[in-house]
């Protein structure tokens, strides 16, 4: 425990020092063409990859300063690259569609060496074997990132109040039943809430929507926010579920429920509906993170080193159970990695139903009219607070 604490403290100290050095560095290195970057690495990521458990061994092995900044929504990270921070970052870790559909076409990231990375896919879980769609460009020739964490992400129930079977059968209609008003919460994860409201309204989120669908979305947004007992972050949702303030909450899955499950609350469970409005009648939505190399004019040579480093079975397990949330990793297809997971850990990430839940889920994609739907949802949130 003491050891862990010290590492964290070291991490904080180092981060502060690095942030200062980094701030000074960016100011002064702009003019110098030969800024030596072989001992530094900057990662823009979801939380987990920024934890000391993951980064410290890499820092020590390479004598490198590694700065990792975590954010909790994809568009913000991508907008930072768009705003000119491609000069700053070496790696970016976001959900699946962004690399292939947005960042590569916009020249924000660049392909990585196929020969080096293709063998790693052999050891991944069956659903992620080479050539894995989201790690490849549209032509299928270039490898544009590596995959690791993933998970189904639809909603979470307290199985003492709503059984798993009922929740899976009723699916998104849980939010269409007026009797459920006041019994649920909504996780403050607005991009995902837009997807989920589309599912509740009965159509696929990942396409351009007709006026009729937008009207249905507006109605669903107003209704669902009006009936919500609480809107908040993951900790608030888990606390409200455990204490009995709410029976289920919108937007959630392994990623959000795993901390509560790891804490012994096995009645908190991520649910993937058996059927829904997505292509092929799929009921849930899943995410797969893709970590790509930024199109940085002075790219650190450590970027690809790090991508290889996190493929290691032990490091993969650390990534899966890094601080914050706990998630399955594609490297669990490798026995050496899988064996590192204890029965408790497997239960926390709902390993028992993971495969079927992923099979029932559509993959996170880009909503073409996201801005319009988000504005409607924000307006519905405010309208709910008026009544």
């Amino acid at each position: 425990m003491l050891n862990k604490k010290l590492t964290r403290r070291n991490f904080m100290e180092r981060s502060t020092a690095m942030a200062a050095a980094f701030a000074a560095g960016t100011g002064f290195s702009l003019g110098s063409a030969q800024a030596a970057r072989d001992k530094e690495l900057n990662i823009l990521c979801w939380e987990g990859y920024n934890s000391a458990q993951v980064l410290d061994p890499f820092r020590q092995a390479h004598g490198a300063t590694v700065k990792a900044e975590s954010l909790t929504n994809d568009p913000t990270m991508i907008n930072r690259l768009r705003a000119g921070e491609t000069k700053v970052w070496d790696l970016i870790n976001v959900n699946n569609p962004w690399a292939r559909k947005v960042m590569l076409p916009e020249g924000l990231i660049k392909p990585i060496d196929r020969a080096t990375f293709e063998p790693y896919f052999e050891r991944m879980l069956p659903a992620f074997k080479w050539p894995y769609k989201w790690a490849m460009d549209e032509s299928g020739n270039e490898l544009i990132g590596m995959i690791q964490r993933f998970g189904p992400y639809s909603f979470v129930v307290n199985t003492d109040k709503v059984s798993r079977a009922t929740a899976e059968d009723q699916g998104w209609n849980l939010w269409n039943d007026p009797a459920n008003a006041g019994k649920y919460g909504i996780l403050e994860s607005d991009d995902w809430n837009v997807f989920d409201l589309c599912c509740i309204a009965g159509f696929d989120p990942f396409k351009v929507h007709t006026d009729d669908e937008v009207a249905k979305f507006t109605d669903a947004a107003n209704r669902v926010f009006k009936g919500a007992k609480v809107v908040g972050d993951i900790a608030t949702m888990n606390q409200a579920l455990i204490s009995g303030e709410i029976d289920f909450h919108l937007t959630g899955g392994t990623y959000s429920a795993s901390p509560a499950r790891a804490d012994g609350n096995k009645n908190i469970r991520g649910i993937t509906p058996k059927s829904g409005p997505m292509e092929g009648g799929k009921g849930g939505i899943a995410w797969i993170e893709v970590t790509s190399v930024v199109n940085n004019p002075e790219l650190s040579p450590l970027a690809t080193e790090f991508l290889q480093y996190v493929q290691d079975p032990k490091v993969s397990h650390t990534v899966a159970f890094a601080e914050g949330t706990f998630n399955p990793v594609t490297q669990m297809g490798d026995k050496a990695c899988f064996d590192l997971f204890t029965a408790e850990e497997l239960d926390a990430i709902q390993w028992d139903s993971l495969e079927e839940e992923m099979a029932r889920s559509a993959e996170y994609d880009i909503v073409p009219d996201y801005d319009k739907l988000l504005d409607i949802m924000t307006s519905a949130k405010k309208a709910a607070s008026a009544g």
């Binding site: 929504n73 768009r82 991009d191 919500a228 007992k229 609480v230 924000t378 607070s385």
Partner: protein, 277 residues
């Protein structure tokens, strides 16, 4: 001239640290929606979007909650301020300290403390259930809880200026009024209250301005059942990635608060309030 030179470091500091960000916010509010630069042709579309949308609900909540917070705090703090200035004597510093100590703990942590206190099966309801067998409905995530959180958080900001105001009233004026046959109520109404007004007004202003910008109470204790204007601004800058809209909302908030404060300050001479005639 020497005075100006000496003031230069401060002027530069204020220009960079205060004026520049403010100007950037104002500049962004005139940029096209969802743009990230300041070099586009200016437009009023963000303001139009706000007036056509329902952000007035958020403005309304922020202002209403701030007014209610000020009103409750006035009622709660005046007796305490009176006590601190006149009654508690040697205990006054200890009591002052008790009101100050919570300020050393982050506001969020204190609010989460309240959350655990009020949550179902938590400190309050859990105890009532296990000791008295009483099962009450949870009060958490309701509007009165937001108000409770705000009143609690802003107590010191109302209490201390008020205490100063009350202690500014010379005892002789009170005695003179009583000697001249005033009732206790008249002494309060016609002597103590007007003379302690400077401190009260500063307390009102300070609390009001802070409370209009409150966000954590509605998020943590209110469970976002109310979206105050500051939260609306936050959504625009984060999930919506619409900096110009967020900037326009911020500018409007500054205008509304600025006008209200100026209105109050015009009615109360600031120099008199600060005791410099």
């Amino acid at each position: 001239m020497a005075g100006f030179r000496n003031a230069l470091p401060l002027i530069i500091f204020l220009a960079i640290g205060f004026a520049a960000p403010l100007l950037a916010v104002i500049g962004y509010s005139f940029m096209p929606e969802r743009s990230f630069g300041l070099l586009h042709p200016p437009t009023l579309e963000n303001y139009a979007a706000i007036f056509n949308g329902n952000s007035y609900i958020s403005f309304g909540w922020s202002l209403l909650l701030a007014v209610l917070t000020v009103a409750f705090l006035a009622l709660i703090c005046y007796p305490i301020a009176y006590g601190l200035a006149r009654v508690f004597g040697p205990w006054a510093p200890v009591i002052t300290l008790l009101f100050t100590i919570p300020l050393f703990v982050s506001e969020n942590v204190r609010l989460y403390g309240w959350l655990l206190f009020f949550i179902k099966n938590g400190v309050l309801l859990g105890t009532l259930k296990s000791v008295f067998g009483l099962e009450l409905e949870s009060w958490l995530f309701t509007r009165p809880m937001i108000l409770l959180g705000m009143v609690y958080v802003y107590v010191p900001f109302m209490l201390f200026p008020m205490t100063l105001g009350v202690s500014m009233v010379p005892n002789e004026t009170r005695e003179a009024a009583l000697d001249l046959g005033a009732t206790r109520w008249q002494v309060f109404r016609e002597v103590e209250l007007p003379l302690s007004m400077p401190g009260i007004v500063i307390g009102f202003l300070l609390t009001f301005v802070l409370a209009v910008g409150a966000i954590a109470e509605a998020k943590i204790l209110g469970g976002q059942t109310v979206i105050p204007i500051t939260h609306d601004i936050e959504i625009a800058f984060t999930y919506a990635q619409n900096w110009p809209l967020g900037a326009a909302l911020a500018v409007l908030l500054m205008l509304v608060v600025g006008i209200l404060v100026l209105f109050v300050l015009r009615r109360f001479d600031l120099d008199a309030v600060l005791g410099r005639r």
